[in-house]
Symmetry: C2
Subunit: 348 residues, 2 copies
């Protein structure tokens, strides 16, 4: 962002909204340039902003008049209701919901991966979509490998934190864990089955092909972000009792054989926003606790996949394991990075 | 087992040992036929056995004299020290450790999958190995599909309960969860990093190829149990904060295209010890909480894998998700089933 733009956070009281405010404050955006919107029942609430505070305002049709950039994280319905009309009146919407991601006229952007997608945003008033959290985290780990060796096929199994379902889900995990430890039955409010000490298939709608929406996003968003629908992607998305960082176990089939795992590690470390944590001797690899609160997506367990070795002994596959903070790179940080990149493009 | 055999449980105070006693009691084996062994510091401890009790005896070199069948679950070192010598003196050892699994003269048995491997056990005195928990649970889900369509390649990502590291690990998860909820730093005794609200790479030794022992077991034990080293297997084994049931996300490449997912479901349901739980409408699939305490391995999330569809539209791959009780089918139940099968074979 440039130094005088006004920024709105829509959905400021949510887990992602609060993280957006934290990141804006940490980047030195003065509180006077930031407005925090939420539903009318949160109006008047004060949220920490750096060493100060911002006061939550009720969000409505005219809230964004005069706002340069609005970071939306209040769910698809709010985005659909207000996003395009606000864009038409001159605000750049960076939307964290799934409302517009697959729309042909909406760039779907991970700044380290496809910043050029923002070139289409020529002047004030546009909708830009933030990809889904599990897609961002997976692609931050895999894109440097894709650039080095070419990914032909990607099989992903996720280990997703409850934060993806919001602050209430994080509180549910805490409450249920306490209930189980006290010998009580865990009560379910956000999820329809216990998340504490359990693992379950992602709680999104399931399509006719049996894939839930989270899994379908992984396929379609990968194709759009990489600009290549020929890459074969399949995913199994699973929730685990973790607060705020996602993990992904990833198996790749590559266009070139892997000759040197160190070259793969170097490519990952050279990629902004990704960091190798792959210490076999100490058994230190990416974990959600390590990734929580960090900007970088951690990548480790890098191994040649012997199930993809051909008769000449060439290995065409890799296994890896990644972890990234769902609230930061998976959502809030990526959105703020898009806003910053727009400032550099001088598009807004 | 036939009705007058004497049974010993070696490692009776451990998580698996207690489960073995529970299963023997539930099968109606009278307490008088069962002896419970553990280290000398547990001697004299009384363990529940059905409506009664058994008293723990200190285990030593002559403990198994006169015992027909000994179920070992006291770790590899004890198995190596006492297993073969006891077998030489006439006891059938069913060993839950990894000590003998890959020995050429030792059958590695999942009774529903390769019971014929026990044909080699002709008369009293033998060592039989129980496969590793994550291998058993994965193969219980995949073997019916292998028989129907032929598995050429299998990629497994596990979600493993802490029970695989024993009763102390289950207590560690409980303690750490309490510490985190109370705002304290979790203390680590069993694992070298926190398991509560975290996910980490399996805590076994890592080989030169980067695979940990748990992953290597999945490959080698699958080959031995299926009697086919041509199947390509790769695994990523991960611990999750769950008490006692493992899950596996599995991607298969098949020798025949999948025409009918219902036929796959029928094959799984027709396979003793596996049960389909695949309710897309209700979003009900296998979870560790559902699988805990159950004998069946639950199998669901059955989906054609479109990343393996060829130019003629034939699909050569499947995704699935399985969950099974690590202490039961993953360990104690499988061992008792082997003992029962030996009784039917009248080998001992």
């Amino acid at each position: 962002m440039n130094g005088n733009q006004s920024i709105a956070v829509v959905g400021a009281t949510g887990a992602v909204g609060r993280e957006m405010l934290d990141i804006l404050a940490a980047e030195g955006v003065e509180a006077g340039r930031v407005r925090a919107f939420a539903s009318s029942r949160s109006a008047g609430q004060r949220l920490g902003y750096g060493s100060g505070e911002v006061t939550v305002e009720a969000f409505g049709g005219e809230s964004l008049d005069g706002i340069d950039i609005a970071l939306f994280s209040a769910g698809s319905a709010i985005s659909k209701q207000f996003g395009r009309s606000a864009a038409a009146r001159g605000t750049v919407i960076i939307d964290n919901s799934s409302a517009f991601r697959m729309d042909a006229d909406v760039p779907l952007v991970v700044p380290e991966i496809n910043p050029a997608a923002l070139d289409a945003v020529k002047s004030g008033g546009a909708v830009i979509a933030n990809p889904n959290c599990s897609t961002i985290i997976t692609l931050m780990a895999v894109t440097p490998i894709h650039r080095l060796l070419g990914v032909k096929r990607m099989i992903v199994s996720t280990y997703q934190a409850v934060s993806g379902a919001g602050a209430a889900a994080m509180e549910e995990l805490r409450r249920q864990a306490r209930q189980v430890l006290e010998g009580q039955e865990p009560t379910c409010e956000v999820f329809d089955q216990p998340c504490a000490f359990n693992v379950f298939s992602h709680n999104t709608t399931i399509g006719e092909d049996g894939y839930n929406v989270e899994e379908t996003k992984m396929v379609k968003e990968t194709h759009k972000i990489w600009g290549d629908a020929s890459v074969r992607v399949t995913a199994t998305c699973i929730r685990v009792p973790v607060f705020r960082a996602h993990c992904a176990s990833i198996n790749l089939t590559l266009a070139q054989p892997v000759r040197d795992l160190d070259a793969v590690r170097e490519a990952i470390d050279a990629f902004a926003g990704a960091k190798v944590l792959d210490d076999r001797a100490a058994n230190r690899f990416p974990t959600p606790l390590e990734a929580s609160g960090k900007d970088d997506v951690l990548v480790g367990r890098l191994r040649l996949d012997p199930s993809q070795t051909d008769e000449q002994g060439r290995c065409w596959g890799l296994n890896l394991f990644a972890s990234g903070d769902q609230l930061r790179k998976g959502a809030a940080l990526n959105a703020v990075q898009i806003a910053n990149l727009l400032g550099e493009h001088a598009a807004v």
